[in-house]
Every structure is written in C-alpha cells, then in structure tokens.
Assembly symmetry: C2
Homo-oligomer: 505 residues x 2
C-alpha cells in the first residue's frame, strides 16, 4: 500500500468494523440511539428508506391479494401461553404492562398504580392475537384463504442492542395467512419468500441465498422457516427476510377451524412472514464504504443533490436561476414509479459535497459560473471515487440521469454479488472448516472469513458443536442447489447436500 | 309517517343512535372490538380508509416541508414529569411497562420478572420524547424550523371505550415543529389546522368549524389549542383535528435552545398537531344512514362493485366476460391521483347488493344477460335510495363514472352542511339555552338538539356551570366570525363574541 488515504469515516472498515458502522449511521444522519434503553430514533433520512421499502412491498403484497389491517399491540399473557414453543421463544424478552396509571407516591414522585388483572405483553410478533381474530373470521372453506398484513412496531427486549440490527423496539410488517390446504399454505410461504427476494435483489441491491432454516434456528412454533441470507462486508451473514410455514400448530392453539366442502371440521393451515427496519442495517453494511453511506437509487430518500457555487455576488442570481430551472426539469422525471427526488443545497459552506457523500446520495451535481457558461454541470456518482467527477452538457444530463441511476443500482448489486462469491468457499474437511472460521487477524477480529458451503449430516449435535466451538451457525439449507451427497464436515456421516455456514448478526 | 319501512340496519338512528353506530360498523366490516380491553381490530375495509387518509395528509404535509421520522414508543417516567400540566393530563390513563420478562412462577404460570429500574409509559403523545431529540438537534437558528411528523400508535387508557371514537390504543399522526419565533410557530399552528380543514371538507366531506379551544379544554401544556368541530347526525360535536401552539413551555421543559443570529441563547417555539383513527368514526356518523355505511368516494377503499348476474349456466361466460372487460376499462381510469378501485362480486347468493350497500361502496353495478343485450349496465348510487337504480349505456357509464363519483362526494358534503346549518341556532337567553339542551324526547335521549351559538363572558365559572348542569361544553371560539358584543348567555356579563356550545364526543 502507498500512502495512507484519508477517508471521510473514521475508523475505516478494516480498522474497526462495528465502530465504522456506528459512524456511518451518525455521519449520514440516518438514526440515533435514544435515551430509552435499546430504542432508536429513526431520523428523516433513514425513515424515508423505510417508507420506500414499505411502498414497494405493500404494492407487491396487494398484487397477490393481501390486505392490510391492524391488530392490538397488547397481547394478554394467556394468549401467548397457547403455543408452547412460541411462548418459550418470546417470554424471556418482552415488555410487560402491569399498570394503567401513574399516581403520586412518596415525595410527590409518580408511581405505577391501577394494577391490571392480567399482565399484557407488548407484541413481539402477532401470531396469537391475530389468530384469535382469525378464529372468529373463519368458519367455512369459503372464508379461505385469508390474506392479512400489518405494518407496525414490535418489541423484543434485547440486552445488547445495535441500531437497526437489534433494537428493543423496531418497525416491521408481519403477514399472516390461513388456508384450506397444506399445499396452498406452503405455496404462499414460498411466494412471500420470493417477494422478499425481489425486494432484496431488485431494490436493495443485496444478493441473497434462499434457503430453509434448520430445526434449531426455526421460528418458535413453525414447521418450516424459510430465510434469505445476505453477506455483509465483514463477511458475516444477515437474515434479510423470513417466511414461515406454521402447519396447523397455531390454528390448533387459536382454534382456527373451518367446515370443509365435505362438511368436515378442519384446522386451517397458516403462514407468517416479515421483514423489519433491520433491512436498513443490511443496506448500510452491504454497500457503504470508508467515505460513508451508499444508497441504492431505488430506495434512496433523494436521488440527486444540486450544489450551486457562486462565490461572487454577481454570479448568484444566474447560478440560482440555472439551478432551480434544472431542479424543475429533473423533478418532472419519473424513476421507477416514483418522482425523481432532487435536493438543492445552497448553503455557503465548505464540505457540502462531503456531507452528501457521507449521506450516500447517488448523484452530486455542482453548478458554477463556468459550468453555466458551457451549459453543463459537474457530476459525481456515489459508486465511484469522490474525485472522479465529470462535466456533462445540461441537456445530456437530463436525458441520461435515469439511466445513470439504473447503472449505479446495477453496479452496487454486481459489486455485492462479486464480494459474496469471492468470500464463499466449498469446504470438505473438518480441519479446513475450523481453520476457515478461526480468526487469524489479531488486528481486526471483527472481519470474518465468509460463507462456507459444506456437508452437514442433519444432526443437532454437529450443529451445536460448531456453534460452541466457533460461534458459527447454519444460515440455511439452500433451496436451489443441485442435490449432492457427501460426508458431514463435522462427523463424517452421510449428508444429502451442502448447507451455508457462517458467523451471523 | 306511512307504513314502517324496513332498513338494513337495526336499530335505526332515531331508535338507538349508539347501537346503530355499532351495528353499522359490524355490518360494514370496518372493525371490531378485540378481547384486549379497550383495543380494537381495524379490519381491511376500515384500514383502507385510514391508508387513504394517511396518503392524502402525508402528501399535504410533505408539500409544506414536513419530514417523517420515528421515535421510541416508550417514554421514561421522568420525561413525562418534565412539563407539569402535561403529566397531570396524561398520568391518569397510561399503560405502564414495569418488567421486561415473563418467568415461570407457581404452578407453571408465567409471571412478570426482570423489574425495570424506571417504569416506562407507552406514549399517549410524544411531545416529551421528541422534545428530547429536538434539544440535541437544535443548536443554532440555522437548524430551525424543524418540521417533523410521525405516524404511529398511541395509548390512553380509557375506561369507557367505543370503537374508533375512544379506544385505549389508536393510530394517529403527530406533527412536532420547532421555530425561532413566536410568529412563525403560530403561523405553522394555523397552517396545519387549515390542512386538516382541507382533509375534512375536501376529502371526508365533513363540514367543520375552525376555532380555538377555551383554556379549560386546551391540550395539557399548550398555550393555544385550535380545533375543527364537526356535527354528527345525533347533533353532538366531534373534534376532527387539533393543532396546538405550545409557546416555549415544552422547549423549556425539554431544553430546546438555540443560538440566535444575534448570538443570544433562546428557547425555541414549538407546535404539535394530530388527527387519529377517530376520523373514521366521524365519517361513519356524518354520512351513514339506516341502511348502513356511506363512504365519500375520495377515501373509500373501493369505488365500484360489479355484480354479474347469470342464473342460467349458458349466460355465465358472456356475463363474466363482459364484467371483466368492464373492470379492466374502469381500473385504467384515475380518480383524484389514485387508480379507480373496482370490486367484482361473483358470489352466487341473494343479498349481495345489500352487502355492498351496508359496506357503503359509492357505486353498485349489476350486469345481467338483458343488460349485455342492450350493451348497458344497471347502476345504483349509495347516496340515493337503494331501489333508485338506472340503466346506463356501458360506454356512457365508463365516460361518466368519475363525474358520478364527484357528484356523490359533493352531495354528501352538501347534505352534511345542510344538516349542520339546520341544527345550529343562535341563542340569546339563558332559559332558551337550558331548554335547547334539555332532552325533550324520552324515547331517544341520545339525539341532541345541535349547536348553539351564544355569547360567553370568557369565565370558567359559566363554562363549568353549563357542563355540570347540562353536560354541554364550549366546543370552540370560532376563528372566522365577525366580532359581535353581547351579554353572556349564562351570567349576563359582557361578551366579545359568540362561541359554539354543544354536547360532544
């Protein structure tokens, strides 16, 4: 390496990855930790990403017949207790409401009063409360399928929190469906996984592996859990969406029963599926660099920033006129079903450009008197080196801005895919496996080796062993791989296919 | 009256208004009470109304520079205590989280565990928690104004609940802004009131009176509270949006300070404003009739239902073909910035038409073999008598459907305005005032007299007296009325203008 290059974010990824992550969030103004333990404040620049994700998904859901609804946030304790595995999974980390009033106590301080007869849990997920409604909504096979989604907040009391990735309160959507047959419910489970894949790859520019979770990693109470696994730049895996086939477990727990066409009483087959604000963490860690956030244009809050430069007062009015005229032309354009969003930053300060680089806006446009004289603009792309800026004729820029954004979008996906492929290896021996997952870089123990595709016998003993020895988990049993037999990389027993091993968020 | 007409909803409005309200909600499938005390389930037909309201408002907010964000749902007790009036107003009815875990107790039952050091309150409103962020976001006059909104759920523990109107949990938006001057904050307060007026009158077809709340009715901690007051069909008032000028009260409580251009440290001036799912209750009670819900087209989940009629099997394919072709033509149309939403109801059951009347869809279209032979459709409008249906040529229907919807929208507003005007009286004597508000109809004590415009001296004594004697409150001091002096209708002291008195939700 030559001389150390200065970067806009300190530390760099290779110096301290977790700290780099926090600093990117801070510098881009996406969100912040709040004084409420484990909760975050999602700031406008971050919330706009969530709004875009919501609009994209909501449209795709509705095209498949899903309708939105809203269910109570409070779940009576007895509801949660209905499904044994489910309550085991969530009771250890839930916010419990026990009182409905604050009253003046000693020294005038307010103390909880009005104790509730039964404690209420703030929903960690809504299978049990929605199941209660479904049990009343469904009576005949004609009422099925029931296809419901809700956008809401949920709470899982986390001890070690990390903004976007693991917070006590987060935003998500949770879909819940009920069907008259196992086959139809299973199809719905996989259809929704495909929608999430389309979101991840087509909009977030995050390549994902579709697969099934092992029994050990399954959603509490599910029969099968499907997942999308993405590789972050520290080569750890992050789950980017899950879809669960719940069999008849929750239908039995909530008594969701229907009369079949043959007039038999049957339990429905249910599914649930969700993605959360965690995806914003995945976007940050997939694309950003040592200069800050990089946003895929499809979900960026804004697409283009115009920065007028008029150091001399005499240039100000022509530069501002040009800038506003250009902004009007650009905002008339459509970018994939939404309007092109343009910012004008006319603050007279140094470092404006770097502010926008750190915020990850796809295109930066400088407009000075010399540019105007040449009827051109000076354009920087966030997927290229900050200094790599080009002069483009104004008309040409307006004509090509949409395809430039598409090019950035594609470039980000390709880069992420290449990175994942470069850091995914097939491993066939136990020694190689242990070597792969044993940190060999004392300087930065947070950068990991990547994904290992290795044979696994299907036994929980092997699965737990590697988790204990290496903190490595089976991320998924990939859905699309060709069947291939071989010996389990841990115990040598027969395996019917390779699975994805990795350290994970 | 002639012979008793059968209605789709039992009881009728004039028989038992509160029960009629519940039955309209049930028959239209808008929402239901949940087993969680005081909480409701908003079903898809009701939630779609909320989504439309959200989209309309969100667009109007953003046009004025407001940006969305998201803040924690949990408020530490000490935050709430910062503003004395505010905590007084909300401490008596709030959900208190005291534990973060459920653990197995006696007999295997789960009990709250992991007590929190400080109880958390589920937000009843977010001035205090958002104020904490604002105090960190604002340091210079250059950071102002700060214009933030959030869409979220809030909790106010209500003892007597009523679906949409008063529920322990409800959905709303809450806007919070901070400004460098009193004048600018006051302008923002009134600008937002105007946006709510536009929503109410232009979209929900609900005529409203813009006014200021009396000190007694003010938001806890506000300097001025502004409101929109609407008249329901039982002639009670319902608040359809509020906007508060908070002065520097919350800025002092949360220490939102900025350095002025003159380098002086100042407290910011703040505002807050919100509307909630309560508006859905207002829509129901303004427009619906004894046959069920009537939805203003601008916020209806769907605009048109097509009901193919093919009693003989040989007609089925032509009727269905015609229906689907028409649906395609209709869904290509735009209705005020959104697509026309069309339902096809091909259930082979009697009473389909009545189902849609009860659900309040603006237009019902029947399509039978005879209609097809004449290339026409048979159309019913929800703002007219159910039997008043007309045959319209298919091409003509497609050409006029948008203007028919506009006509329905206007008709609903006009009807509601006429109703309010007919039930609003100017009262100048105490006897008349008491007579006006004393129920004289023993059969239905839930139908009230209306709005009284009367002089008020401005004193809380008179205000409390009529509340105690008659359960009547001052809904607002109207903003637009011409100044007019006169004697207070209660005590005879000087008054500088008439105010709106009514019973209220």
């Amino acid at each position: 390496m030559g001389k150390e290059q200065r970067t806009a974010i300190t530390p760099r990824r290779d110096q301290d990855y977790p700290e780099w992550y926090q600093q990117v969030i801070k510098a881009s103004d996406l969100a912040e930790n709040s004084p409420v333990r484990g909760c975050m404040v999602i700031k406008p620049w971050g919330y706009a990403i969530w709004e875009n994700i919501r609009n994209i998904l909501d449209g795709m859901f509705k095209e498949t017949g899903v309708k939105n609804a809203y269910f109570p946030m409070f779940i009576p304790k007895r509801f949660l207790e209905k499904e044994a595995e489910h309550v085991q999974g969530f009771a250890k980390e839930c916010a419990v409401v026990t009182h409905h009033r604050l009253e003046e106590g000693e020294e005038g301080r307010l103390v909880p009063a009005g104790p509730l007869e039964e404690p209420l849990v703030v929903r960690p997920t809504s299978e049990t409360i929605i199941g209660e409604s479904f049990s009343r909504w469904v009576s005949s096979y004609r009422d099925l399928p029931l296809l419901i989604n809700q956008w809401c907040n949920v709470v899982r009391w986390e001890m070690r929190t990390r903004i976007f990735l693991r917070t006590s309160e987060f935003l998500w959507q949770e879909g819940h469906t009920a069907h008259a047959s196992r086959k139809e419910a299973m199809e719905r489970t996989l259809d929704m996984l495909n929608i999430y894949e389309k979101l991840a790859q087509g909009y977030l520019a995050i390549p994902v592996i579709r697969g099934e979770k092992t029994a050990f990693e399954r959603f509490p109470g599910a029969v099968n859990s499907y997942t999308l696994e993405a590789m972050m730049q520290d080569r750890k895996a992050l789950q980017a969406g899950t879809s669960h086939f719940l069999g008849q477990n929750f239908a039995r727990a909530s008594e969701i029963k229907y009369q079949s066409a043959q007039e038999k009483e049957e339990h429905a087959w249910t599914t649930s599926w969700g993605v959360s604000t965690r995806l914003i963490g995945a976007i940050i860690m997939t694309h950003s660099d040592d200069d800050g956030l990089i946003l895929p244009p499809m979900i960026a809050a804004s697409h283009v920033v115009l920065m007028p430069i008029a150091k001399k007062a005499e240039h100000r009015s022509s530069v501002m006129g040009f800038t506003h005229a250009l902004a009007r032309e650009l905002t008339d354009l459509s970018y994939h079903q939404r309007k092109l969003v343009v910012e004008i930053d006319d603050r007279e300060i140094g470092g404006r450009g770097w502010d926008w680089i750190k915020k990850g806006i796809p295109l930066r446009v400088e407009i000075g008197p010399r540019d105007i004289a040449e009827d051109s603009v000076f354009v920087g792309r966030r997927d290229r080196d900050p200094k790599d800026k080009v002069s483009i004729r104004r008309g040409e820029f307006v004509k090509t801005v949409i395809s430039m954004l598409d090019d950035i979008q594609m470039n980000l996906f390709d880069r992420a895919l290449r990175f994942r492929d470069e850091n995914t290896v097939r491993i066939d021996s136990k020694d190689d496996f242990y070597a792969f997952f044993t940190p060999n870089d004392a300087v930065n123990p947070e950068i990991h080796a990547g994904f290992a595709l290795a044979h696994w016998c299907g036994g929980e003993v092997c699965e737990e062993k590697i988790q204990q020895d290496l903190s490595v988990t089976i991320r998924c049993i990939p859905l699309e791989d060709e069947p291939e037999t071989g010996p389990c990389v841990i115990c040598g027993s027969n395996s019917s296919g390779r699975v994805v091993f990795a350290k994970a968020y």
